[in-house]
Symmetry: C2
Subunit: 338 residues, 2 copies
DNA sequence: ATGAAAGCGCTAACAG
DNA sequence: CTGTTAGCGCTTTCAT
């Protein structure tokens, strides 16, 4: 069996309590005592048992990242993947480890696995199940929402300003002289979809351009579906071919570009294309994709920061809205060759 | 405070032990007793405390996925991301949760965090630190290696047959009549790099084509670096332009295609390109990428299967080598339009 | 500055 | 079938 605090106590002649203090409050011990204990511990290969410690302190030092519903798979998701990555890193800096919880796991009979595991806090990405939210809250486990808001009072969330993000793309295209701007949307959560679509409509209104549903398609956010969606727009519009397409994420934009090129359109000369998320897809595309950066990394960092604040019972922990940024690349502006 | 086993015992009049049994060995109880206890538990919102349980059983139901060194970031990595995803899902099916451990975390002073957390087993992805491997082994924690092998005796690993994988790509290109086949390699771990490069050399030998180092470039596996590497090959060879490029992963291939197109070469007519990993990059590329599938999903599943077997002290748990498969797409063979 | 004792919530013999 | 007892490894009063 592994070395315990008791083994070290016996070895050094001090009590369990003193050995424990050597690791928790070293300053309370006499330097010599501390040295003796620490040396013995090192020699014997002692490692504090986090489980036993958690029994008493009621802190496990573990967080859960739970992604719900249609957004799974998490990890290979070009939007939630980077968020998770930054969550893991930020958590580590604060001394927390993170469980990543698959979509299926959370659909367990009661879905309370992370409660049983006594995590100190939970990050829900995308739209969480309301019942589950209530359960965690009732249990007193701090929760932070990422990329979603909840009607529950005092629910802390981190979101990116999608409305502004789409407006950035629209303004950019308008300033380039584009007037026939199509919208290629994905079947995201209502929360996201609605705000992005509204921004598109409002921007058109600002420009004095009437909204025309023939310029709009919603598809699954996969390359092939997006390509088909773009084809439908082109077929429908014929000579009124759009001179720009705003896409609700980068994968959609990649599909749009494929369809446009196959239809003999040049990007960006004939049709400018914008993506959303500024994901890894952008640099893989040809031409590289102009995209709205929803600050995925910062979302993860902020989520952890807020969650830690909640765990530590800090006062005035409020939600965060992050500004979006436009990353201009070759899919909207012809790049000068270097 | 939350409801404990003792609360239910008091409520129902049974002993702690009986209540415990209701959740561990329900078949041992009298149906009525069981019913009474389960109902009380449900009413009172009882949830077994996994931490307390782990104290006794010495099982936490947690695994760690540790990725070491140059391969971080894990999650956004097109190769290790899918592996992790399948690990998480397979683990869940076996009743395990998984900690994902960042590169930095593992570089902690002692790097034994997961030992302290008492995980039941560890999956190391890519090249692990030898000292760390020994530490986990010495502690008696089961370990499975993914995409790497160790000289330590009895170390269980899951790898894909890279040698065969590269041969598949080479044979494919040769059968298409390509004879001037370049190699674009990435700075991977020695283990991977060596086997893939050797396969390239051996395949050429099989074809009776002399190896020519002017056809070979090694770069960082990023799009821009790969593009530059491909440019160097083209510049160096001039009129001897290769008619095929074997790339050691898909990102490299994406960069190669960019460089080729900018040089006025048609893919695949003038130059055929193959990737490796069959990652999400393949369908984003234009043209879509022929790629060697290293069976990422199966690697994750096998890793979990083996790890569970080790945890359960099953006999004869041996390493696994998975066959690679070639996925043919438009970057090597002109696709008929559908 | 250190020790003694209690106990976190649960399971696992061992009785009965 | 059910209860009693002991104790996992550790922290934390409370003494001394």
């Amino acid at each position: 069996m592994s070395v315990t605090i008791l083994d070290i106590a016996k070895e050094t002649g001090f009590s369990k309590a003193t050995v424990s203090r050597a690791f928790i409050n070293p300053e309370l011990l006499q330097p010599e005592t501390l040295k003796t204990i620490l040396e013995a511990a090192a020699n014997m290969g002692y490692r504090p048992n986090a489980i036993a410690r958690a029994m008493i302190t009621k802190r496990t030092g573990n967080l859960a990242f739970i992604i719900y519903g249609r957004q799974a798979p998490v990890i290979t998701n070009p939007f939630y993947g980077p968020i998770l990555e930054s969550v893991v890193n930020a958590a580590q800096r604060q001394g927390y480890s993170v469980f990543i919880v698959s979509d299926e796991e959370i659909r367990l009979p009661s879905g309370d696995l992370m409660l049983q595991k006594q995590v100190d806090g939970v990050i829900f990405a995308s739209q969480p199940d309301l019942g589950m939210l209530k359960m965690y809250r009732h249990n007193g486990t701090p929760v932070v929402l990422v990329n979603h808001r909840s009607e529950l009072p005092d629910m802390v969330s981190v979101i990116s300003d999608d409305y502004q993000g789409v407006n950035l793309a629209m303004d950019h295209l308008y300033s380039l002289g584009r007037r026939r701007i199509a919208l290629l949307g994905g079947n995201f959560t209502e929360f996201i979809l609605h705000r992005r679509e509204q921004a598109y409509r409002d921007a058109l209104a600002r420009f004095g351009i009437p909204y025309n549903e023939r310029y709009v398609e919603l598809t699954e956010p996969h390359v092939t579906d997006a390509e088909a969606g773009m084809r439908r727009i082109l077929a429908r519009l014929g000579n009124d071919c759009p001179d720009a397409v705003v896409c609700m994420n980068d994968t959609l934009a990649a599909g749009a570009i494929k369809a446009l090129r196959k239809a003999g359109k040049r990007v960006p000369e004939d049709v400018a294309v914008t993506g959303y998320d500024d994901s890894v897809v952008c640099t893989l595309c040809e031409p590289e994709l102009t995209s709205v950066d929803g600050c995925k990394e910062r979302m993860g960092e902020e989520a952890v920061r807020l969650l830690c604040a909640l765990i530590d019972n800090k006062p005035d922990v409020g939600s965060v809205v992050l500004d979006a940024q436009l990353k201009v690349r070759a899919s909207t502006v012809v790049q000068t060759e270097n």
